[in-house]
Symmetry: C2
Subunit: 462 residues, 2 copies
């Protein structure tokens, strides 16, 4: 039996145990049980409890755990809980919440509900949250937190450790300490590792590294991901254009962004959107909601491809030779000739889109893809000649089909690589290219290639 099952069984056991304790109102036992578990596991269980039990369990939690639960929650969960608990308890819990998570949730609340929460915060926290709310979700500012430890460059290592100990509770990470000058500009960084292995009297300025990897608050959050990944960081400082330290982004938030973006690329490539991703990946999905968001997300692409498909129809309807009874077998090869161009084109475009996200490519990559198409095209043409020869004895037809297939595979692979490179050069995000779009474009070019090959070759032969 594998480990996954074991863990899931354990969480089912916990769930039923929790239910029994709540039903029997055994508060102390419940609290004792919960303290043995990780906050994430408790959160998982709460998602499977009904509203009443959820509130009861929440009220039993020590306030630091309650705050952590709210940090993990989405906006519906947050609203449901927060409206039910009394105001002093609420204030204490909010006080302990991590401000970036709070800002994320508040940004999704209605105006009046948001105001209500803001009024419960301390002035300092309220100001920080207001600032965090200001930044775009996709920017570095949008995922940063203000829970960092900063010290002045003139203090000693001993003073720094003391400051760190005092402020550890509010900090998201204590493993990096950020060093600022008298104007709050970021001038250095010090790992806890360095601090702890240094002598007490050393001045921080002499210990710190001045080689700081940072992002600007208005830069894309993907830049933060790139830097944390490249330089193996546990957190990255976020500064404004005056070099002032505004926040940090910790590696767990970077991982969340990576997960979002990884599946985002696949969704885009499949020809759907962010919107559908959210609905599908929800823990407790609502089927009706899922269907609506699926339909909404996919319709734009499908209408575009439908129109593209009708263009193929229009082109084919001008192809007289196909209706010549002598050559009617040419019709039967339409799906395979245009389909193979689409297949190799899908491969090329996916590859090129992904390569472009890491580095720049020039039009040489289009030529390289053309060569790949050339080699594979020859191979596939040989196969089709051999197979066709079993059924059809007419050499001219076999010739037309295999030459069209060959050309189509070269065209398909080159267009598949060309489109993303062109978009990138035009400063458009190449990841808007989807498999359905590529298929449709290559259906059209495929029909044109077939059309031209038939016209040229058969008119010569006939």
């Amino acid at each position: 039996m594998d480990c996954m099952d074991r863990k899931e069984d354990a969480s089912k056991d916990l769930l039923s145990e929790v239910k029994i304790l709540i039903e029997n109102n055994k508060i102390l036992d419940l609290r004792e049980l919960l303290e043995e578990y990780h906050i994430i596991d408790i959160f998982d269980i709460m998602e499977h409890l009904d509203e009443d039990m959820k509130i009861k369990l929440f009220e039993v939690l020590p306030i630091d755990m309650a705050a952590s639960i709210l940090e993990e929650s989405d906006v519906e969960f947050f609203s449901a809980i927060i409206s039910k608990i009394d105001i002093d308890h609420k204030r204490n819990i909010l006080e302990l919440m991590s401000l970036d998570d709070m800002a994320d949730i508040l940004s999704q609340l209605e105006e009046d509900e948001r105001e209500e929460i803001m009024e419960l915060l301390s002035q300092e926290d309220a100001d920080d949250v207001k600032e965090l709310l200001f930044y775009e979700e996709e920017s570095s500012g949008g995922i940063m937190t203000t829970g960092y430890i900063a010290i002045n460059k003139h203090v000693t290592a001993k003073e720094a450790i003391e400051h760190m100990r005092e402020n550890a509770e509010d900090a998201e990470t204590i493993y990096y300490i950020y060093v600022v000058d008298n104007e709050d500009r970021l001038v250095g960084v010090l790992s806890l590792r360095e601090l702890i292995t240094s002598r007490d009297a050393t001045i921080v300025e002499d210990l710190m590294s001045e080689n700081i990897i940072s992002v600007y608050v208005d830069e894309d959050r993907e830049e933060a991901v790139r830097l944390v990944s490249k330089y193996n960081l546990i957190a990255i400082p976020v500064i404004d254009r005056q070099q002032k330290l505004k926040g940090i982004i910790t590696v767990d938030d970077i991982i969340d962004v990576m997960e979002e973006e990884a599946t985002e690329d696949m969704y885009k490539f499949a020809g759907t959107s962010e919107h559908e991703r959210e609905a599908v990946e929800k823990v407790n999905p609502n089927p009706k909601e899922q269907i609506i968001s699926s339909v909404r997300a996919r319709i734009p692409w499908l209408i575009i491809t439908l129109i593209g498909g009708l263009l193929s129809t229009l082109i084919l309807s001008n192809l007289d030779f196909i209706m010549n009874p002598t050559y009617d077998v040419l019709v039967f090869f339409i799906p395979v000739v245009i389909g193979m161009g689409g297949n190799i084109g899908t491969q090329s475009s996916a590859l090129t889109v992904m390569a472009l996200s890491n580095k720049d490519l020039d039009f040489n990559s289009v030529v390289r893809e053309g060569i790949v198409g050339f080699i594979i095209g020859i191979l596939c043409s040989i196969i089709i000649i051999l197979v066709a020869f079993i059924f059809i004895k007419d050499i001219s037809i076999i010739l037309v089909v295999s030459i069209s297939l060959f050309i189509n595979m070269i065209v398909g692979s080159m267009i598949g690589a060309f489109m993303p490179v062109l978009l990138k050069k035009l400063d458009v995000d190449p990841s808007i290219i989807s498999a359905p779009l590529i298929s449709t474009v290559l259906d059209i070019t495929g029909v044109i290639v077939y059309f031209i090959t038939i016209t040229l070759l058969l008119s010569k032969i006939v």
Copy 2:
């Protein structure tokens, strides 16, 4: 001007400065310059130097930086460097290298080259590396390192801090300290944060958390990724089936795995392989090598889809009605009718494959996709009726085309969702499903649906 440009310009400046210093043999200046830069930036520069300069620069580096450079390098880079430096220097550098990175590189070396390196290691390091080499690349053991800090549960907080300070240099992370019993079994974990904020005399056993999140050494590395991501960890301990601590996996290695796996899914979905990914994502690609690996990776899928395509040909060749001159326009709609099934099927299958990687789905999701296909199918049919009506006055043809399109979109979306769910139930990895495969399968079903619809409707009408 954006930040990316600025950073790239800076690295170009550094590159030319380094070249000038090496050419003029200004060793001291070079060393001073390099010490200001991050190891990753120096590594980037080395990749752009020729062999001789690369060696010269490497010899100038302090040994800790030299060891870090080798940790970042791939096997070719490692071999090129290591064969050129003298044996004592080599031994000192290897001594400082992180053992998981060393094991990764050694696993790719030839037998005799590997033996040669192993002989330079201390007995302890050699044993650790041998053990690391033993684990599968895709297992947790395959990405773990032995550079962790472990203490006995009976020591005090003060002793623990001392032990940590002494061993900090060899440790990949000092932010978690692992607590073991007298038999080396993992019994608890302690964050440096907790340790540093606790009183000196406290016994570690009373401080530690017993709620340990760990992976088994033979478990899939994706399980480690899932746990680190879910529980927001900076490192995860790796144990054997007797609960003995064998190593740790740090979050930076988790991020590397995530990056690999994220693009892996896209490559698979596009119908290519791991092999092509490696060739395309190399920093200094060799075009010939790239073309060969592209051809090799794509041919299997393209041959399968070619055979599938020929099946469509075979089916179409049995379709008599299509050759009836009265209904020859039906031919023109082949690409759009079968293409739209493929498009919605591609969307459904990508979505289902991704959803399956996070949670289990049952065949209900196939029904849900069918409903999505139904709704979008109605819409697309209406569009095609309106458009077709402009050109064609024959109602029976318009009816056949729109009904086929409608059925095809339902069938496409259901098959797209059905295939991955079925594979998962059969314990086959659903991610073997690729866009070209789905397109081809849906070309075949599309032709069959068109065939049946035409036969049924037109035979009634005619």
